[in-house]
Amino acid sequence: MIIMLAILVGVLYAAGIYMLLRRSIVKILLGLLFLGHAANLLIFTVGKLTKGKPAFVPEGGELVEPFADPLPQALILTAIVIGFGVQAFAIVLFKRAYQTVNSDDIDKLNSTDSLERG
């Protein structure tokens, strides 16, 4: 099971970095999303996997092993939400930029001069 997740993390990182290297801003945003997934899965995987049992304290009893480690989960939860904040901001920022420059090309954003020409 580890090997599967390890491969998946690798694929997602590769996809994220590849997309970040594109000129299209939309693709860069997609790359950002890929990297978000990749990082979350990375933490999840290295934080030790336990199949099935979530960390819930049963009614009237105590939590007994094996159960999933709650700490990486808490971290990832935070990461997902913050990642969403960043993505939402980036998407709206892109929209604004597109309306100004009228292009999806990040190279058009290199200098203020090209902005004026555009």
Binding site: I2, L8, S24, K51, A55, P70, Q87, F89, I91
Partner: protein, 764 residues
């Protein structure tokens, strides 16, 4: 003593306020600060003169042995008195000199700050305290040289002085750290007791570094060039920082550390050689100057060389001579600079050849100037005379190479006399020449101070022992590190030294009489042309700038993907290197215990990722990415993380909706990159992916026991009254993190809102 040092800094901070309240009178009030400090330091005179060393410790960083330790012996007190005494004169002078200047407030802020720092340098006993104050003097000197900041030359000179002394400062810091390593203490007074310093393996390094610091500060060859350029500062600054006090900080440091580092041939000879070279070269360069202040500046460099030279000589007489000459020089050179300022102020020119016959217009100034000049020439019975005689005496008694050493000092002395005649006497005698402004007497404040200084030079000369005997003796003792008993006398009889003294005056007069010829010789000799360390400075500065420019062009070319490639490949290279060289890969456990459902998820997610990358339309790319997100959520469910899965589902949905809303009207992708570029990116991306897979496998093959896991499991219910441990961690155990997270979200929300709002206003 801490109070004395800090008072200057505190008052500097209050100065703008004082000016706002008192307007023009503020400068006079502020001028009382150095006067009070002078009186305060003077009150220690008797105790110090009796041989007492007054100490005061304020803890600063005691764990590292860095404290604000102040100590006052003869050397510190002499410098403190020079700083505050000449400070008083300069402050009052500036009140008149800069009366109509727009930025007079700034001037007083800077100069108060400088005075405080300088007092810190001379009274610090802790080497790191000393270093901090040392750097502060460089900083305030920078601000003061650049006082006329609207002139390019001013700014350039200021920067030059800062860079040269700042570089020296760095060397000094390194030297002081070595000294600390050698002696194991940060207090200079404790270093005196340490033996065997000179046989330590770090000794030579420490000496070289400390000397670079001292030589840059005191404008010793080959670092001398910044000082004449520093004449871009207003005259009071030149008089104060660049002749009487700051430039002597280097000499002070040599004197202070002489008992610690001195006594070796290396130390003594280096000082002799550099001091002597500076003395002679600066003298030659002085001969061709026509600008009053530059003339005085080169002469100052020459004198600083003399002082270094005398410490290098190191005999009792040499040290005494050095102290007397230092005091005399501070008095007459500060006066001469102030007078040069007055002449500039009242006639509009500083060109010596245009100045003549001013005595009828500026009688008081002329009187002071001639007094100061006579002391500088070493004329009987001025204090400068005693200084010069003692120097000659020391050189003649040095025991080896007397002729060579004497010639050097003689050249310095003769040119000093020449400068005195040219700068202090020539402008006032002879026939009147027309000047840019019609000359008239300077205001009282501008000659009263110089009168005090010049008369001090006269009175000290007449009664040297009663006025300066004790302090000179104690200072020389502090420099030597042993007790020196000494009585200063004005008159030693008609001996060889006196004869040579007279010859010096004659030569000085001859230099002046035939100055055009000597000027030509100085120019023709090319001393100023082929020995030009300033060229080296200019070259290295421009090289540094072009290096920075090239480096910026190389690393910061403005294309984001270029940065990403750089960052990713650096990470790849470094991590890959470690992975391949020092990590045992055999620990990786590759067991394919995969269930069918897992394989399906894996394949679907990889397929979705490829689709997202290769999609021709944005919408299908986003939809595919949504599939990847849901896949992640399913993985969360499979491995006991229902909370994550829930969050992931909802966030993924939101993201996709937001994305679609933002871009659904955009046209198709345009193909921006060619196949080669895509191939390159693919290689980089694939390599990173492989690296991440390896890292995951490596990390998970380690057995990890999380203590936090059991802590949270046990305490979730009893302490936080929650059964869902993940939720409890978020809202209870790590609630502050969640608080931060909410803040981030709020900021992002404000940003999103602002961007949308901006668009709407743009439409209107």
């Amino acid at each position: 003593m801490l109070i004395a040092v800090l008072s200057g800094i505190i008052i500097a901070a209050l100065t703008p306020l004082i000016f706002r309240v008192m307007k023009e009178k503020a400068s006079l009030l502020l001028s009382l600060v150095p006067v009070f400090l002078f009186a305060w330091y003077l009150s220690y005179y008797n105790r110090v003169a009796n041989g007492e060393i007054i100490k005061e410790v304020s803890e600063w960083i005691p764990a590292m042995g860095i404290n604000l330790t102040f100590s006052m012996d003869g050397l510190s007190l002499l410098f403190a008195l020079i700083i505050t005494g000449i400070g008083s004169v300069v402050f009052f002078y500036a009140a008149a000199y800069l009366k109509h200047d727009k930025y007079i407030t700034r001037f007083y802020v800077y100069i108060l700050f400088f005075m405080a720092s300088m007092l810190g340098v001379v009274t610090s006993d802790n080497i790191f305290g000393l270093f901090v104050f040392w750097e502060l003097t460089s900083l305030s000197s920078y601000l003061l040289i650049g006082y006329y900041f609207d002139k390019e030359s001013s700014r350039k000179s200021a920067l030059q002085a800062l860079l040269v002394t700042g570089t020296g400062g760095l060397a000094l810091l390194a030297g002081l750290i070595l000294l600390y390593i050698i002696t194991g203490t940060t207090e200079i007074s404790e270093m005196l007791a340490v033996t065997g310093i000179s046989s330590h393996e770090l000794y030579t390094g420490a000496v070289i570094l400390v000397l670079i610091g001292a030589f840059t500060k005191s404008a010793q060859f080959p670092f001398h060039f910044w000082l004449p350029n520093a004449m871009a500062a207003p005259s009071p600054v030149s008089a104060y920082l660049h002749s009487a006090t700051m430039v002597k900080a280097g000499v002070f440091l040599l004197a202070r550390l002489n008992p610690v580092l001195g006594g070796t041939e290396f130390w003594q000879n280096t000082l002799l050689i550099f001091g002597g070279t500076t003395m002679v070269i600066a003298a030659f360069l002085a001969l061709k100057q026509t600008d009053l202040k530059k003339l005085l500046a080169y002469s100052t460099v020459s004198v600083l060389g003399t002082l270094t030279f005398m410490i290098g000589l190191g005999t009792e007489t040499a040290l005494k001579g050095m102290v007397i000459y230092l005091l005399a020089h501070s008095l007459f050179k500060a006066s001469l600079f102030l007078i040069a300022g007055s002449i500039d102020h009242e006639t509009g020119t500083r060109n010596v050849s245009q100045l003549s016959g001013l005595k009828s217009f500026m009688p008081f100034t002329a009187f002071v100037a001639i007094f100061a000049a006579l002391s500088k020439m070493g004329f009987f019975p001025f204090y400068g005379f005693i200084g010069k005689e003692t120097l000659y005496d020391a050189v003649l008694k040095s025991g080896s190479n007397e002729i060579l050493l004497f010639s050097a000092v003689f050249i310095g002395g003769a040119v000093s006399g020449f400068v005195a005649i040219t700068a202090g006497i020539k402008p006032f005698i002879g026939r009147t020449i027309e000047t840019p402004k019609s000359p008239h007497e300077a205001p009282l404040l501008m000659y009263a101070g110089p009168i005090v200084l010049a008369s001090a030079g006269f009175i000290f000369g007449l009664l040297p022992e009663s006025f300066t005997g004790n302090i000179v003796e104690k200072t020389a003792s502090a420099i030597a590190g042993t007790n020196i008993e000494y009585t200063i006398k004005l008159w030693h009889g008609f001996n060889l030294v006196f004869l040579l003294s007279v010859v010096t005056l004659v030569v000085a007069y001859l230099l002046y009489r035939f100055r055009t010829k000597f000027t030509n010789i100085s120019i023709a000799s090319g001393v100023g042309d082929f020995i030009k360390p300033s060229m080296l400075y200019d070259k290295s500065l421009s090289m540094m700038i072009s290096l920075a420019r090239g480096q910026t062009r190389l690393l910061q070319n403005g294309y984001m993907r270029y940065y990403i490639v750089l960052i990713v490949s650096t990470a790849l290279g470094l991590t890959g290197y470690v992975l391949f060289t020092s990590v045992d890969m055999s620990v990786i456990d590759i067991s394919f215990d995969i269930t069918f459902s897992e394989v399906v998820i894996l394949l679907v997610m990889i397929a979705a990722s490829i689709t997202a990358i290769k999609a021709k339309r944005r919408l299908s790319a986003i939809a595919s990415l949504g599939v990847v997100g849901y896949g992640v959520a399913i993985i969360f469910i499979m491995y006991g993380a229902p909370d994550l899965a829930l969050t992931q589902f909802s966030i993924e949905t939101l993201t996709v909706i937001l994305f679609v809303l933002a871009i659904y009207r955009l046209p198709k992708y345009l193909p921006f990159s060619n196949t080669t570029l895509r191939f390159r990116d693919f290689i980089i991306a694939a390599a990173s992916g492989v690296m991440m897979t390896m890292i995951v496998l490596l990390v998970t093959s380690e057995e990890m026991v999380s203590q936090l896991k059991s802590f949270f499991a046990e305490n979730s219910l009893p302490l936080a009254k929650g059964k869902n441990v993940v939720n409890v961690i978020l809202v209870d155990f790590r609630a502050l993190d969640t608080m931060g997270e909410i803040t981030v979200l709020a900021i992002a929300a404000i940003g999103v809102y602002a961007l949308i709002k901006l668009r709407m206003e743009g439409r209107k």
